[in-house]
Amino acid sequence: MKAWNTWERVLLALLVLLLVVFGITQPGFMSADTLADSTFNFSEKGLLALAIALLIVCGEIDLSIAAILALCSLAMGYSMRAGLGPWGIAGAALVTGVVAGGFNGVLVTRYKLPSIVVTIGTLSLYRGLALVVLGDQSISGYPEVFSTLGNSYLGEVIGVRWLIVPIEFVLLCVFALAVGLVLHRTIMGRRIYAIGANPVAARFSGIEADRYRFALFVFAGLMAAVAAILLTGRIGSTRPNIAMGWELDAITMVILGGVAIEGGRGSIVGTMLAVLILGLFTFGMGMANVTGIVMSMVIGILLIVSMVLPRMLKRQRAHE
C-alpha cells in the first residue's frame, strides 16, 4: 500500500490552501510562534488517531480509546497520591493503558466479538469507572516534570533558543514516523493491510490475524496512556470527563486522512495530514472567534464531503 497517493496530494493541497486563507484573513496566524502554539490542541488527539488508523486499516475500531485515556489519567492521580515519583506515575499510566487495551483485545480475539460493540461497552465501563472513583472531584498537583512535558518547547529544554517546537508535537512526529515506517515499510505493516482487506484470505495465508489484532488493541491502549501523560501534564489535573468525546475526533481525523472504514486501505501520511488540517482549522477558527460547536459542525460536514467527493468524481469519470 503506497503511503503517497492521490488522496494525500489532495490533503496536502487542502493544507496549503488552509494556511494561505488563514494567513491572509487572520493577521498573526502565519508566525512561527502561533503555528507552534497551535500544535498543542491537536498533538494528543493525533496520537490517538495514529492508533485508530492502524486499527481501522486492520478492520477493527476502538471507540473506548478516550475513555482509556481518562482511566490512565486517573491511574496517574492515584499513583501520585500513593507517593510514587514521576517514573512511577508515568509507569502507572502505561500499565493501565496496556491492561485496558489488552482487555478490549481479549474480548475481540478470544470471544470473537465485533470490536465496535466491545468498545462501546468498554467505553461506558472505563468512563464509568473513572466517574465512580472520582465523582465530581479532580486530582491536581502533579510533579513539575509533567507540566514541562505538556507545556514546554523542545528548544527550552535542550537549550537551543530558536527551536520553538512543543515537546508534545515532537513526540507526535516521532510516533507518526515510527508507526508510518512499520505500516508502510515492514512485513508486519503489509500483514495489517492484508488482514483488513480480507481476514479470511489472510488467515489462509498463514497470518496470525488475532495476534495482530490483539497487539493493535494493546498499542491503542499504550497511545492513550502516552496521550494521558501529555494531556494531564498540560492541563495539570485529572477529571473524570477528561478527553470526553475525543474518540470521535480521532476517528474523524483518520477517515478524513483517507483510511477506508471497511479496512485494508489508507496511509499514515494521509492521517497525519488530516491531523494537521483539522488541528490548524480548529485553531484558526478559534482565532476568528468561532464557537467550538460550530467548528465541530463544519468538521462533521467536511467528513461527509471528504467521502462523497471522491465517489462523485469516480462516477463522473465512469460516465465519460
Binding site: S124, G128, E262, G300
Partner: protein, 327 residues
C-alpha cells in the same frame, strides 16, 4: 431452533430484571410501589421510542449514531416554533417533530445508499453536523421553562386511562414496530437483508429503498422523542441529550439485537430498555452513587454480547482453530 434460543434469551433477561427489582424491593420496599414503577416507565418511554428506530437500523447491519443529535435538533426546532407561534397546537407540533426528524434521518439514508458510504461514518458526520445546527438555529441560547410552549410542556404530563402520555406513546411505537417487523412485507425484508444482503438482492428486495426507509424511520422516531424530551424536561439547549446515542445502542445490545444484523425482536429490545430503566431507578433507592450507572451499563453490554455470541457465532470465520479452546 434459533427461535427457541431467542425466546429463552428474552425470558432470561426478564428473569434478571425481576430478580433485580425484587432484590432492591427487599431492601427498600418503596421500589416496588406502583408510583415508582410509573416513574421508571416514564423515564424509559423516550428511550424505548429511540430504541425501536435504532433496532431497525441495526437489523440492516447499519448503525445510527446521529439519533441523539437529531433528537436535540428536532426538539430545538419544536421549541422555537412554539416560541414564535403561540397559537400552534400539539397536533401540528407532533407533525413538525415527525417531519423534521424524518427529514434528518432521510439525509443519512440518502448519503448511505446514494454514495454507498458506511453508515457508521455517515452518522458520525451528521452527529456533529446536526449538533452544530442546533447552535446555529438557537444562536447558542437556551430555551428555558417559561419560553417552552404550553402544549409541549403539557403533553408528557397528560394522563390517559391511568397511564402517562409518554408511556402511551412508547406503547404505540412498540406495537406499530412489532406489527411492521412481524407482519408487513417491508419488515420481513429488513430481517432478510440484514441476515444476508446478497441473497436479499437476488430474491428481488430493493436494498437501497429499504435502507432509506429504516434511516428515515429512525430519524422520525428520534424527532418524536425530541419533542417529548423537550416537553418532559422543559428545556432545549445545544448539548441536550449529548452522548445519548450510546445508551440507545446499549439498550439494543442488552436486548439481544445483534450489531451484525438480522437478529433482534421488539420484545427483546423493550426488555433491554426496561433493564436500563430498572437499574437506573434502583441505584438511588439503594443509595449507590449514580456514577455507577455508566459503568454498570458498560459491563452489562459486554456480558450480554459475550452471551449472545455463543448462539450466533458464524461457522468458518476462523480456520485452524485449536479444538476445545473456544468451546
Amino acid at each position: 431452533m434459533k427461535n427457541l434460543l431467542t425466546i429463552r434469551r428474552e425470558w432470561l433477561l426478564l428473569g434478571i430484571i425481576v430478580v433485580i427489582a425484587l432484590a432492591v424491593g427487599a431492601r427498600a420496599p418503596v421500589f416496588l410501589t406502583l408510583r415508582n414503577g410509573m416513574d421508571i416507565a416514564n423515564d424509559s418511554a423516550i428511550l424505548a421510542i429511540l430504541v425501536m428506530g435504532q433496532m431497525m437500523v441495526l437489523l440492516t447491519r447499519g448503525i445510527d449514531l446521529s439519533v441523539a443529535s437529531n433528537l436535540a435538533l428536532t426538539g430545538m426546532v419544536c421549541a422555537l416554533v412554539g416560541k414564535a407561534f403561540p397559537g400552534v397546537n400539539i397536533v401540528i407540533l407532533i407533525a413538525i417533530a415527525l417531519a423534521v426528524g424524518a427529514l434528518l434521518g432521510s439525509v443519512n439514508g440518502w448519503l448511505i445508499t446514494g454514495f454507498n458510504l458506511p453508515p457508521i461514518v455517515v452518522t458520525l458526520g451528521t452527529l456533529s453536523a446536526y449538533r452544530g445546527a442546533i447552535f446555529v438555529a438557537s444562536k447558542g441560547a437556551w430555551i428555558s421553562d417559561q419560553d417552552i410552549h404550553v402544549a409541549i410542556k403539557g403533553l408528557p404530563r397528560e394522563v390517559w386511562l391511568g397511564l402517562p402520555a409518554l408511556v402511551w406513546f412508547a406503547l404505540i411505537v412498540l406495537a406499530l414496530s412489532a406489527v411492521f417487523l412481524k407482519l408487513r412485507k417491508e419488515g420481513r425484508e429488513i430481517y432478510a437483508l440484514g441476515g444476508n444482503p446478497h441473497a436479499a438482492t437476488y430474491v428481488g428486495i430493493s436494498v437501497p429503498s429499504r435502507l432509506r426507509l429504516v434511516y428515515t424511520l429512525s430519524g422520525m422516531l428520534a424527532g418524536l422523542a425530541g419533542l417529548l424530551w423537550v416537553g418532559r424536561y422543559s428545556i432545549a439547549y445545544t448539548e441536550l441529550a449529548a452522548g445519548y446515542e450510546l445508551t440507545v445502542v446499549a439498550a439494543c445490545v442488552i436486548g439481544g439485537v445483534s450489531i451484525g444484523g438480522g437478529v433482534g425482536t421488539v420484545l427483546g429490545a423493550a426488555l433491554g430498555v426496561l433493564f436500563i430503566g430498572v437499574v437506573n431507578g434502583a441505584l438511588p433507592v439503594i443509595q449507590v452513587s449514580p456514577f455507577w450507572q455508566q459503568a454498570i451499563s458498560g459491563a452489562v453490554i459486554l456480558i450480554s454480547v459475550t452471551v449472545n455470541s455463543r448462539s450466533e457465532r458464524r461457522a468458518g470465520r476462523q480456520i485452524l482453530e485449536r479444538q476445545g479452546v473456544l468451546a
